[in-house]
Subunit: 128 residues, 2 copies
DNA sequence: TGTTCGATACGAAGGGTTTCGTAATAACAA
DNA sequence: TTGTTATTACGAAACCCTTCGTATCGAACA
């Protein structure tokens, strides 16, 4: 399951998000989730999910007259890959630059900042 | 110059990177930079850069028989926009989750970690 | 069995990106 | 001026993603 090149499109990523969030679901469920955010046809989602099966991004099993779809790659794995590409493509591979930009751009709550700081301290300890 | 929707494609982003890095350049320079990384034709880059002019991503001026191209949007502005989309699309908008994943995934040097920690402290102070 | 109705399968259009071949152009040199 | 060469302009193909209309299927029920 450790696919070399996971590269979901934007629409595919939306679908994966729903499945990661809700667990294995029908097309109907996924469609209802997404249609709430942006208007999109039922068969559009269906088609996308069928394509995603061919690409190996989803699996499915029959359940009466429905299909139940499940995400194949794990959320973390996809995030890791996309992050890697993004970091290299947009920030020249500098994790530091990216982190600082994120922290400056979105004000994390004091609690979050503290947690991040502690996480860094932990990393610093683990290293030595 | 504060474009509402800056959304360079991948190829366009590569070109912008070169121009941000090297400053205003000819097609030849950009092509040589990119061709070193992945094989791509000269006229492909030329065409892309011409399209980018139409989109307002680049400007150019004549210089003898050449054109000198320059990036229009600032690096930081593009990074900010792309980061915003990425964070929302991939990490559900949680800066904290993303930062922690980045820090865990790429080991920053002790010096970088320290700098980030200090930056956070600065943020914490500014807030109060 | 035959009808109904929700779900699936499929084709094709529309839009965008990337690619490159070829034609036109302009500077420079002979 | 004319030829040579580097550069630009342009068109079109190939590819991919997204969208949806329509056809098909199949379970449930009368």
């Amino acid at each position: 399951m450790t696919e070399k090149h996971i590269k979901p499109t934007e629409a595919e990523l939306e679908i994966l998000q729903v499945l990661w969030e809700k667990g294995p679901s029908t097309v109907k469920t996924v469609h209802e989730s997404l249609d709430g955010i942006r208007s999109v046809g039922y068969t559009t989602i269906l088609k996308l999910m069928q394509i995603m099966i061919q690409k190996g991004l989803l699996t499915r099993k029959r359940d009466g007259r429905n299909h139940i779809y499940a995400a194949v790659p794990e959320r973390k794995a996809v995030q890791r890959q996309l992050l890697d590409r993004f970091l290299n493509g947009v920030f020249g591979g500098s994790a530091q630059k990216m982190v600082m930009q994120v922290l400056g751009q979105y004000r994390a709550s004091p609690r979050e900042l503290k947690e991040i700081r502690q996480y860094i301290k932990k990393l610093e300890k683990d290293k030595s």
